[in-house]
Subunit: 143 residues, 2 copies
């Protein structure tokens, strides 16, 4: 697996071990990780702490995003797709979109390249989590 997606998967597993929602994200600039994070809704009581938002927050005020790539273990929802579009992140690589469709069409309409790796282990992790904690998952996506 791509080393950056492996890091995003590690973040997701870290979140799961903390009792949270297993989604992880990594921001890369020219081959270097400049931010990483995971969903912290449960851990921080913060409904805005989706993995991608946590990752971008941890990257801090890093200047232009024009030379960055955002990795996520799951297709970004509209909140996170909105961040990608607003801040001009040109490329998003996701592990899967089978368990949640997210907002790829919105990102693509705004010129973002969206790559879906269709990784079975990522699908399995989310499938298991959604089966175990459906109420928490629905809360996280506003259902």
């Amino acid at each position: 697996m791509d080393e950056f997606m492996e890091m995003a998967m590690e973040e997701a597993r870290k979140g799961l071990a903390e009792g949270g929602i297993p989604i992880g994200s990594v921001l890369v600039r020219q081959g270097k990780v400049i931010g990483r994070g995971h969903n912290r809704r449960v851990q921080a009581g913060d409904p805005m702490a989706h993995a991608e938002i946590d990752c971008l927050r941890n990257a801090g005020r890093t200047g232009s995003y024009r030379d960055t790539v955002l990795y996520s273990t799951l297709m970004p929802c509209y909140l996170c797709s909105g961040a990608v579009v607003q801040f001009g992140i040109p490329k998003v690589i996701v592990a899967e979109s089978e368990t949640f469709p997210g907002g790829p069409e919105f990102m693509r309409q705004h010129g973002v390249e969206v790559v879906d790796l269709h990784l079975p282990e990522a699908v399995q992790m989310m499938t298991d989590f959604i089966a175990a904690r459906p109420e928490l998952w629905n809360e996280d996506i506003g259902k």
Copy 2:
């Protein structure tokens, strides 16, 4: 002025007094404020802390947003519009959209009612800020 928009303006002025970007937001459920916040990019070094995100974070895990109204002193950008759409906030009231167009069409496409109050004092506050700190404003909207 609407009492909730007045609170959002207070939040914006608080942010300005802290050396930050003067945008404020308030979340209301059935006539009661359940969250308020302001842009904290500068204060917290957090590029995700747009006013609406800060407000929604402060409201915490508050259950369904179906009976809420989000107030903002400025038309939400795509990050914040994405939060509105993803979490199913049905109505957004903004003080102005003259100094920044934001993403009203995206929200409306997803069934959100967007009301623009066109308040001159909000336009003036942002106009003055953008003239004084153009680099900070451009950073905040990813330009």
